[in-house]
């Protein structure tokens, strides 16, 4: 059974020693600063609690630096909470940094293998998905050329095809991703929609309310790393001032 349970999750990290903060550190963006033990810290997340079960589609909203991406990274496991606890059951996959680790001197095919290994796929899984990825990317014979020879759009197609070739149980997304020219964008959209429908749990951080309204059934609004609002998506969008 897929589920995520965040209990009083807090995340703070030290400000680099050579950064000098002047005067007023109350800001409209970002986490809150505080001092302790001779160092300054930023509280990026503070007392965040929620529970998600299969079928939940959570939208994260909030201004720049409100903690959306940080929370996604905590949910994925890149950041360990400084306080509180996070329990997650089910395979977590993230769609941020989809071009990470592309080797420009290696062929497209070799890059599929590398990316697959980094994602934790077995050699058999990679083999099984190879042809489907190649086909979806429409790169044809270019798949056996070094990625260095690809245009930006071609690299993006390959990255997208690899990143969306699995069926995640828990899918974490930072903004909707897309790639390629107009035709490919349509295809990419359909593929992502299908993936989203199949996933057990989705957490999507976005500034795009119409996208959130379409995909999500629950909204958490973050402000300076704290939950400012948590409830059903239709209630959120029915609030005055929210469009």
């Amino acid at each position: 059974m897929v589920s995520i349970r965040a209990t009083n999750v807090g995340l703070r990290y030290p400000v680099p020693r050579d950064v000098k903060l002047k005067g007023d550190t109350r800001t409209t963006v970002g986490g809150r600063f505080f001092a302790g033990g001779g160092r300054r810290y930023v509280t990026a997340l503070d007392d965040v609690s929620f529970e998600l079960r299969a079928g939940d589609r959570l939208g994260l909203v909030g201004g720049n630096g409100a903690g959306k991406t940080t929370l996604l990274k905590v949910l994925y496991g890149i950041y360990e909470p400084s306080v509180g606890s996070l329990e997650a059951e089910g395979r977590r996959d993230a769609l941020f940094n989809i071009g990470l680790g592309f080797r420009h001197d290696a062929t497209g095919r070799r890059n599929i293998v590398l990316r697959g290994l980094i994602n934790g796929w077995s050699n058999r899984e990679i083999e099984q998905r190879m042809e489907e990825i190649v086909e979806f990317s429409e790169l044809g014979d270019f798949i056996d050329m070094p990625v260095r020879s690809y245009s930006q759009g071609m690299s993006a197609r390959l990255a997208f095809a690899i990143a969306t070739s699995f069926e995640p149980e828990i899918l974490l997304m930072d903004e909707w991703i897309g790639a390629g020219d107009k035709d490919f964008q349509e295809k990419a959209k359909a593929r992502l929609e299908k993936m989203v429908t199949k996933a057990g749990i989705i957490v999507l951080a976005s500034h795009n309310n119409s996208l959130l309204g379409r995909v999500c059934n629950r909204i958490i609004s973050l402000d300076h790393g704290r939950i400012a609002w948590d409830g059903k998506a239709d209630e959120y969008f029915a609030r005055p001032g929210v469009k």
Binding site: I78, Y79, N97, G101, D105, L114, L117
Partner: protein
């Protein structure tokens, strides 16, 4: 402390299970470094031969001293491994910033990736060293077999150093510049191309008190003298054991914190 070491071990264990990942990344690293060149992997071998050849020509009194030839050939082989380990470790985690901030791979994986890259390079240097050593009079004695465990000791020490220096440099970036300078000096302070004549004075003291001497001697002595450097074995095994324990504790303490330092 034990809890930290346990956390370190579980990070290392996870990385060992993902060996296909660091194996693939390391082979790409090595291949990338000489892609599109004509000589390809022969380059590290040539680099080694040029360096060692020059030292032997200039410092070896114009040939005739066969012992000196194999002394330098073996010493330089280990020194290049040590040099790569020290100089790459201080930028280890900074180099992997994209991965560390974008994936949930255990950080030991990057240490193992680096160690494998250095090991592959050293392997090519070894191919160059063997003919030089044979020319220098290396005899095939039973003691020569001890080179295999000696290489294993080096391969075990390198990840421990990688963890310790990598983490330290992530917190104190000045260390990067310090280590570059110190490594340059260490090449002269370590008996790579000079011998402890008479074993007295400064040279003698450096020879015995520099721990790097002993890491070189466990490989070099069976090659040039056909004997096993028991004293050096005791010293290197103790140092490696200490470094490994320290590395596991540091790994356990900082493996999830490194991401905030990059």
């Amino acid at each position: 402390m034990i809890e930290l070491a346990r956390r370190g071990l579980s990070d290392l264990g996870a990385a060992l299970r993902l060996r296909s990942v660091w194996w693939a990344l390391a082979s790409e690293d090595v291949a990338d470094s000489h892609r599109r060149t004509v000589l390809g992997p022969v380059w590290p071998l040539l680099n080694y031969l040029l360096f060692v050849g020059t030292l032997i020509l200039i410092l070896g009194d114009g040939g005739g001293k066969a012992h000196f030839t194999s002394y330098v050939a073996a010493g330089m082989l280990v020194w290049l491994f040590i040099n790569d380990t020290l100089s790459m470790s201080v930028s280890l985690f900074a180099r992997e910033e994209g991965f560390i901030k974008g994936t949930v791979l255990p950080i030991s994986l990057y240490v193992l990736r680096q160690t494998l890259v250095i090991a592959i390079r050293s392997f090519y240097a070894l191919l160059g060293a063997i003919p030089v050593l044979l020319y220098g009079g290396m005899e095939l004695t039973p003691a020569l077999l001890s080179v295999v465990p000696a290489i294993a000791v080096l391969l075990l020490t390198a990840p421990a150093v990688g963890v310790l220096l990598g983490i330290a440099a992530a917190y104190f970036p000045d260390l990067r510049f310090m280590v570059v300078n110190v490594t340059r000096l260490l090449m002269f302070l370590t008996p790579v191309f000079w011998m402890p004549a008479g074993a007295g004075g400064w040279r003698g003291a450096l020879y015995h008190w520099n721990p790097l001497t002993h890491y070189i001697d466990i490989v070099r002595q069976p090659m040039i003298a056909g004997t096993i450097a028991w004293n050096s074995w005791a010293i290197t095994l103790s140092i490696t054991a200490l470094l490994s324990v320290a590395a596991l504790v540091m790994l356990g303490k900082f493996n999830r914190q490194i991401v905030f330092q990059l």
